[in-house]
Symmetry: C2
Subunit: 315 residues, 2 copies
């Protein structure tokens, strides 16, 4: 069966039936089916909003990506942005565009992946929009909440800060490279670091925070943007998944390059004042392994924006 | 110049420069440029979320629609959904997908249209996402706020309710028909009924509320969905723009059909208990002309869903 056989309202009903099987948290006052959704943050919370799109043949390929994994990744990418703000999720809306010839089972699997991730992280589907299009795309907007004035920010990095990252880098890029060389479908689903982000929002001494979506190099550059800072990163300390070096070697890839530039890691990259906790204590508070990978230094004055001119030490 | 000459970050910088020219309201705690935006509703407000997409060759055509008007319409459609909930806007995010060959001046005009409408209605651009794609599409998500528990709803229509609509119907469809017959570009930009929606949220005796996006017939059907009700609508009372009948005649169109099924009117369609105010007093309270076009009646029992089987009186 194809989408054109089901029709717009048939597809909406089908998605809502699936979504309705999961209980809705109390923060959802009005769910899907009205002109808009109504969400209720706790008293004194700010509202956090992020949008992200996955487009066929740009962010995913039917040939190499399982539809369920595409759905899971789509929501994980949005939740990762909430994590980087220290927010808890309230809900998300989905704008799905697809050609009428798309098999319904693909949409079923996309939606199953989205709803699986939604249930895991308490971020229910609260509304959406369907449209015909030449290619398939999923545009998600996630809404979260954070204690008033306590949202984390990219700004706030200072000279002397320690540079830290959660989890491991390069796994998503390696998985993609493997699939592109015809070795099966992609398997990697990133883990949005929501608990770690919320813990960071309560931690004293946090500088700048960002999630690693474009890759370590590029996202570290975002943290330095407009500041007279340079980053000293120790390549030997970059946390990578088990067996990463050997797996890269088998595919003829440079592991350091994959870890630094691969992207879609969805780990949290952040800086900490020297006085903030570190080591095992920090990992324990964030509920995930944290690795200190370098330091921020003041860039030579008079050179304007320090990155990339001023001081990126390429390992 | 085309998008590929500007690059993703070039385009982001260009949009943000334009957006930054307009002052940001105090409810925007963090605007574009971080991992997510942070908005601050007033204490005790619920948060309202709606998403809507305009896709090239589905919702607009470069041949018949001026890019600036496309941008204006895209935001107006989202704001209309906030209006139908009785919400005030806090901000919106934009996911723009476009082919790298798209001329930058088209994007400039789209964005100018969006920001024009944003400034008029106090709904600033607070974030977004850019992606390459085969066709151009704009997916907007608008965030609003409404006094806790006071959001309007599609549910709530009852037998005996008067059926009312703001403004006029059919203007958008007539404009589209004219452009499709090669008589210039579309000119119609809908007016989201935000003030009227907020007034309705404070009015006693309001039943169901929806905005007219699919057309009067279809959206009235949404109000009746799942209820044992039928709608008696008096075709002679349907409010249409000045000169509508003659303009339809010139194009060989049936004016009643255009008014009932044209869609994209973005007027508010709502029902009122018999005791609620009406006539000029109602129009004054809502700040827009309101026309009573019919009544809801109980449908014969035992017939299940009354629409369309039960009682739609086709004028």
């Amino acid at each position: 069966m194809r989408l054109r056989d089901l029709g717009e309202f048939g597809l909406i009903a089908r998605i809502l039936r699936t979504a309705a099987r999961r209980p809705s948290p109390a923060s959802v006052v009005v769910g899907p089916g009205d002109d808009a959704a109504v969400l209720r943050p706790a008293p004194g919370e700010d509202v956090v909003v992020t949008t992200d799109a996955l487009v066929e043949d740009v962010h995913f390929r039917w040939r190499t990506d399982a539809p369920r994994a595409i759905g899971r990744r789509a929501l994980a990418a949005n939740l990762s942005d909430l994590a980087a703000m220290g927010a808890r999720p309230l809900g998300f809306v989905l704008a799905l565009a697809a050609p009428p010839s798309l098999p319904v089972r693909r949409v079923d699997a996309l939606v199953a992946g989205l709803l699986h991730e939604a249930a895991r992280h308490g971020c229910p589907l609260v509304g959406g929009n369907l449209s015909a299009a030449r290619e398939t795309s999923l545009t998600l907007t996630a809404i979260g909440a954070v204690a008033r004035g306590r949202a984390l920010s990219r700004a706030g990095a200072r000279a002397g800060d320690r540079i830290c990252v959660t989890g491991t880098l390069g796994g998503a890029a390696l998985d993609r490279a493997r699939a592109e060389r015809g070795r099966g479908q992609t398997r990697h689903v990133p883990e949005p670091r929501l608990s770690a982000g919320r813990a960071l929002a309560r931690l004293p001494g946090v500088g700048g925070v960002i999630d690693v979506s474009d890759g370590l190099d590029a996202d570290l550059a975002h943290l330095l943007e407009g500041r007279r800072l340079r980053a000293e990163v120790d390549a030997a300390r970059l946390p990578v998944p088990r067996g990463f070096g050997a797996a890269c070697a088998r595919l003829g890839l440079d592991p350091e390059r994959v870890a630094r530039t691969g992207g879609e890691d969805y780990e949290l990259l952040f800086t900490l004042r020297p006085s903030a906790p570190g080591g095992a204590r920090l990992s324990r508070r964030l509920g995930v392994a944290v690795t200190e990978i370098g330091r921020l230094r003041a860039a030579a004055p008079g050179r304007g924006r320090s990155f990339p001119a001023g001081g990126w030490r390429h390992f």
